[in-house]
Amino acid sequence: MRASGSFDILVIGAGIVGSAIAREGAQLGWRVGVVEAGTPAGGATAAGMGHLVVMDDSPAQLALTAYSRSLWRSDAANLPTAVEYESCGTIWVAADDEEMAEVDSRQRLYAQTGVTASVLNPEELARLEPNLRPGLAGGMLVPGDGVVYPPAAAGFYLAEARRMGAELFLSRAVAASHGEVRLSDGSRLSAERIVLAVGAECDLLPALPVQKRKGHLVITDRYPGFVRHQLVELGYLKSAHKITDDSVAFNIQPRQTGQLLLGSSRQYDNDDRAIDTEMLARMIQRAEEYIPGLRGLSVLRTWTGFRAATADKLPLIGPAYGLSDDSTLWLAVGFEGLGITNAPGAARLLVDCMQGRESAISIDPYLPARLMEPARLAHA
């Protein structure tokens, strides 16, 4: 018999990644505890778009997003309606011939990974998305991509974990090391393993090489059918790839409610939660260059959030070895804009690794040890 307050695994952070890990652990019959300082799913999970998307910024990113998306798809039938899972697909929109020239090679790359994608000519693009402006060069449709409502998805994972016995502690972890977590109410929990599944704001491990990348989002009233796929400009990778300059890119998502969720912006070295009105205006104007009809739609809310970014744009999944000498400490952090897509995949990789079990894809590119030198993100 273990003493009360003693766990196989303690997860710090009840965002979508932490909740997914809690579910994986509980499914294995582990004694799982989850510690959350704020509202469950109330951090980057609530701020994010919920786009389930295959991305190919690097081979490792492609492998993880494709794997994790396949887990979402196989879990789709189990998701409650509140999760609003829709397999709406992504259309990468090419504004000009230069962007269109990339499409063929990307489609081949996706095919090699087993991800279906098709090239759209301008007429096909216009037929699929009549509200895009005329004169665009075409695009690439990735039909297996989808969207979810992230807080409900995280809430579902956490509820599943708790149904299987996981315990939730609504308290701040003030220290977490060597198998012990101390909470702000003074109580102590012990565990074989501690997992930091936190966003960009975490003071438990100062060496964590994660930086805030601020983003803005806008949501409209309900306009069913106005947009049918998640639409992203092909220039997105270019602008999202920059790790120094502030940037905006056209990225719009149809919610199951008929609402439209509009992004995106990226800002470094900005700790201010407030709406940056200049960035917001730039972002909306960028979107209007693609969809002129947005102009008259009613905006309900805007908000900001902080992506947890790493130097090589890949998450840290695995033992904290290299960043800490604490062998009980594990990480699942630094997902930047792909935390929702990658949550189930990361949870599976992490739990496989804890068990010493081989995973469907190699965990090596995501191991924190790769950033053994105290990593520092480039500054211009």
Partner: protein, 439 residues
């Protein structure tokens, strides 16, 4: 934001009594003054104009106040919805079909008024169920109620004022239902002798309709499934009965509109914006007047508005300061007299909709941890009214703390975020929409 800028000494948000008084006082002392208002014409809620009925009795006080505003030289810009403000002294407004307009001020006076508090009960989403002030506003907007049987219910002095106006418009007010117990009302009424009589236009009105104190509406009943109101169920705790009616005009007193003050991070005392004797908030150069500082009615609004307008010009008036203090004391008594009874918390059933925008029933809220948790997991308060209706209800029902406000503080077209018109266009449009044309 990069919208075109209108610079002014004093910017007043809201053209109700408090805003009109503030702008008039400031402009009279030579300050350039602009008033932004989201309604088609000035007056706010209490002085709402009955445009559709040219025979309606003009309210003398309103006419006088608007005459004074006109003579003062202040500019009134109607049809402007303020949707954002920041600490640098900028306010952004959206206009129907137009880009944003940016305003910059030396002094900002928030005169944003109040709205009704609604509490959910079974059937409250049926057509035929209105706010009390809500029905009155719709009648002024041209909705005829002559011959209709109306129950006026809820709490607060507004109920009696509404009953009086509805009766004047030909409605048959079949009953007024006030949740506050008679004993509390009597002691409140007794305390009024020391107050300016006008404060209680409502309570001095002796309704012909039966006035049931210590009672509340527990259910609105439709004639057919989901259609048209036919009766309301009323409870006095022990006794309950049905009252046949065509319309219900119901509201539980007022809650302040404080969204801009929250955006600017003004300090609060409870639900109200904290101000000093000159109506200054905790934020430099920002004043607040009228109901957002405490629900105290028309006279207090006029006094506070004038104080703030004078303060912008570096002036003060001892007599006004004394009257303002009386107004604050009155607001406190009003709040106590019409405090909500606990029974109202148990009105909603599990399937009673609380958030009308997103149709979230009460049962879905019971297991949530907080407002934020409820918003994230149930969509409660996430619709276009941004929780203006369900928020105050939920604060009462669940005792959750409200969450912070973000811009836009009300839904605006996407184009409101685009850069504004050119300086020349803006000047021209300000000219054509000067006060003479609009009030």
């Amino acid at each position: 934001m990069t919208g075109d800028t209108n610079r002014t000494d004093v910017l007043v948000v809201g053209a109700g009594p408090a805003g009109i008084a503030a702008a008039t006082a400031a402009a009279r002392h030579g300050l350039k003054t602009i008033v932004l208002d989201d309604n088609p014409s000035a007056g706010g809620q209490i002085w709402r104009d009955a445009i559709a009925n040219p025979h309606a009795k003009k309210e003398a006080a309103r006419e006088r106040a608007i005459q004074s505003l006109r003579a003062s030289g202040a500019q009134l810009l109607s049809g402007r919805s303020v949707f954002a403000a920041d600490a640098t002294g900028a306010v952004w407004a959206a206009r129907e079909g137009g880009p944003q307009e940016e305003f910059r001020y030396q002094s900002l006076i928030l005169a944003t008024g109040a709205r009704e508090r609604f509490l959910p009960f079974p059937g409250w989403t049926l057509p035929g169920v209105f706010g009390a002030g809500g029905l009155q506003a719709l009648v002024k907007g041209g909705y005829p109620v002559a011959g209709k049987r109306v129950v006026v219910a809820g709490t607060g002095p507004l109920l009696l004022a509404v009953a009086k106006h509805l009766a004047e418009d030909g409605a048959k007010v079949v009953r007024i239902v006030e949740q506050a117990p008679l004993k509390r009302l009597m002691s409140f009424a007794a305390s009024l002798a020391t107050n300016p009589a006008k404060l209680l236009e409502g309570l001095r009105f002796r309704p012909r309709a039966p006035y049931s104190t210590g009672c509340w509406v527990t259910e609105a009943i439709g004639a057919t499934e989901g259609q048209k109101l036919s009766a309301v169920r009323i409870s006095g705790g022990v006794k309950t009965w049905s009252e046949p009616c065509d319309l219900l005009a119901g509201g539980y007193n007022l809650v302040p509109n404080t969204e801009i003050a929250e955006l600017l991070r003004c300090a609060f005392r409870g639900s109200f914006v904290r101000v000093d004797d000159s109506q200054r908030t905790s934020v430099p150069h920002v004043f607040c007047v009228g109901e957002p500082t405490g629900i105290a009615g028309l006279d207090a609004a006029l006094v506070q508005g004038e104080i703030a307008g004078l303060a912008c010009a570096g002036k003060s008036d001892a007599a006004l300061t004394r009257r303002a203090a009386q107004g604050r004391a009155f607001a406190d008594r009003l709040e106590k007299a019409f405090a909500l009874r606990d029974e109202l918390r148990s009105l909603p059933h599990a399937d009673t909709i609380v958030c009308r925008c997103e149709d979230v029933p009460a049962g879905k809220l019971r297991d949530r941890l907080s407002w934020t948790d409820a918003k994230l997991q149930t969509r409660c308060g996430m619709g276009p009214c941004q929780g203006r209706v369900c928020g105050p209800a939920i604060e009462f029902l669940m005792q959750w703390r409200p969450v912070s406000v973000r811009q836009p503080i009300l839904p605006v077209p996407m184009q409101a975020f685009f850069p504004g018109t050119t300086a020349a266009e803006s000047a021209a449009q300000t000219e054509t929409e000067s006060i003479e044309e609009r009030v």
